[in-house]
């Protein structure tokens, strides 16, 4: 599903932030991406959700070579990926419903379906009473749940989450993990970038460890084994 081979990445003319990253993720896997701040977790996720092209190496998403793909071909690939951003990236002028509905609307879904599905999903994440609330009126945890709902509304094949429990207490973090595991059970491949060691310890899954832009394969194999 996801294959990286000797991938390097830099921002503009700056130094390389990822070096020779090589790994593969099969459909239905659940993985953690761990590492200290500045290790390159967000950069690696940016490559995976196609916000950035690598400076070298090969990336294959859903069997498509990203380096060779034309711009319009990336649209189809992106629609198969749900992303929970570290800073949520909710649109402040749109209600919770409209934020969650965005991926459906850009894909051209019918408005009746959009309303039904979004309302149902917001109720499922416990925000039935906040459907028309603007993000600024929501708490950190509520914003995070809106962001998660937006990421999963299209039932993506791959779900990427960048520090999804960062602003949640222990109990909410655990609840969120169970939600991700539930999605994983019904077929969604999940990659979670986190530095929350407690979370990883209590909910064990294979790990990809990044340090100074390099993937520590030993750690990944050890945890996976």
């Amino acid at each position: 599903m996801v294959r990286f081979e000797n991938v390097g990445m830099r921002y503009g003319m700056g130094p390389e932030v990822l070096h020779d990253v090589t790994f593969a993720i099969e459909p239905g896997e659940f993985r953690y991406l761990v590492g200290p701040s500045g290790a390159g977790k967000t950069s690696l996720l940016r490559l995976m959700y196609l916000a950035h092209r690598p400076s070298r190496g090969l990336i294959s998403m859903f069997g498509t070579d990203v380096m060779m793909a034309r711009r319009h071909e990336l649209v189809g690939l992106r629609r198969g990926i749900g992303v929970v951003f570290q800073d949520y990236r909710l649109l402040a002028h749109l209600s919770a419903l409209d934020n969650v509905a965005l991926p459906l609307r850009v894909a051209g879904a019918k408005e009746e379906e959009v309303q039904d599905h979004v309302s149902e999903l917001l109720a499922w994440v416990g925000l039935a009473d906040h459907i028309h609330a603007l993000p600024d009126s929501l708490s950190g945890g509520q914003k995070q749940r809106v962001a998660i709902a937006r990421a999963v509304i299209t039932r993506p094949r791959l779900l990427l989450a960048d520090e999804p429990t960062g602003n949640l207490d222990e109990m909410l973090g655990q609840r969120l993990l169970r939600l991700f595991e539930e999605l994983n059970r019904i077929g969604t491949t999940v990659v979670i970038a986190t530095h929350n060691q407690n979370l990883v310890a209590r909910n064990p899954h294979p790990i990809m460890a990044l340090d100074s832009g390099e993937l520590q394969l030993g750690a990944a194999m050890e945890e996976a084994g």
Binding site: V75, R78, L94, V106, H132
Partner: protein, 293 residues
């Protein structure tokens, strides 16, 4: 009950969205005035050329020792013998006084002012008869006769009118180009301001066309809003000009505007402006979005 969704890219809250309708209003105002100028000049040039072609005017200045009626009879006789004259009409003295009153004002023509007698002469095509030839023929038998060819100076006037017409068309084109440049600039600015929103839309699978629709819709709305404003001011100005032109009381004064279809054309200017804005915004947005990852 479903609420109306807000625009995905909040373009309506930008500074460009606040000033753009006024820019469009100004553009439409200037374009309508320039276009009206084109229509007026076009109609006037056509009228000048159509109305006076193949007509010469013979003037007989009054002489102290000769009877005016005798000289007029001789002139009619001479004109009847000239080959190429297909007909003539003696202009009544009251008409002559009326023409002079246009310049001096009604009732201001002194009764003792020596007035020429005028005869309009129709020239048959194909005889090569011009003002100079006719004057020579008439002056050989009759003193105090001159012949005016209105076509000569009307042709010069028409040439000047056509030059002004071209200038006005150039002004309309320049206004269109300025509108396009303004939309290009504001669209680029909008993309720059909302880069984060657009990047998010791309990441959740939006095509460039979906994002471009946000910009083209906004440009069309602002174009129509500004266009309506501009045409209201322009129509008010045209009515003012029409009132002033009506007081000129000269047969050469043009009509403002010229015809019903011309009003239709002027009314289409805001719509055309909105379409230009929409198309320009779409093309600009697509070109800029293609540079994004």
């Amino acid at each position: 009950m479903a609420r109306r969704s807000a625009a995905v890219v909040p373009l309506g809250r930008d500074a460009p969205s606040r000033f753009l309708p006024w820019i469009f209003a100004l553009m439409v105002y200037l374009a309508v005035l320039a276009l009206t100028g084109v229509l007026i000049l076009h109609a006037a040039v056509e009228r000048w050329q159509r109305g006076e072609v193949d007509t010469l005017t013979v003037q007989i200045m009054p002489l102290e020792n000769e009877s005016e009626e005798a000289r007029m009879a001789k002139l009619r006789s001479l004109l009847g013998d000239v080959e190429g004259v297909s007909g003539f009409r003696t202009v009544a003295q009251s008409e002559t006084i009326y023409l002079i009153e246009r310049w001096l004002g009604a009732g201001n023509v002194p009764s003792d002012l020596p007035l020429p007698r005028l005869v309009d002469v129709d020239i048959a095509p194909g005889y090569g008869l011009d003002a100079e030839t006719l004057a020579l023929r008439l002056q050989a038998s009759l003193a105090g006769v001159t012949v005016d060819d209105a076509k000569l100076w009307l042709d010069r006037l028409a040439d000047f009118g056509r030059s002004l017409e071209l200038l006005a068309v150039a002004v309309v084109i320049l206004i269109g180009l300025a509108t396009v440049a303004t939309v290009v600039f504001t669209t680029r600015m909008g993309i720059s301001i909302h880069r984060n929103v657009i990047e998010l839309l791309h990441l959740i699978g939006a095509r460039d066309g979906y994002v471009a629709v946000q910009f083209q819709r906004q440009a069309m709305i602002l174009g129509l809003r500004g266009g309506v404003l501009g045409i209201i001011f322009a129509v008010a100005t045209l009515y003012g000009l029409r009132h002033v032109a009506g007081r000129l009381e000269t047969p050469l004064a043009p009509d403002i505007p010229v015809a019903h279809w011309a009003w239709g054309l002027l009314a289409a200017v805001p719509v055309v402006t909105a379409v230009i804005a929409m198309v320009t915004a779409r093309l600009t947005a697509l070109r800029e979005l293609a540079k994004m990852p």
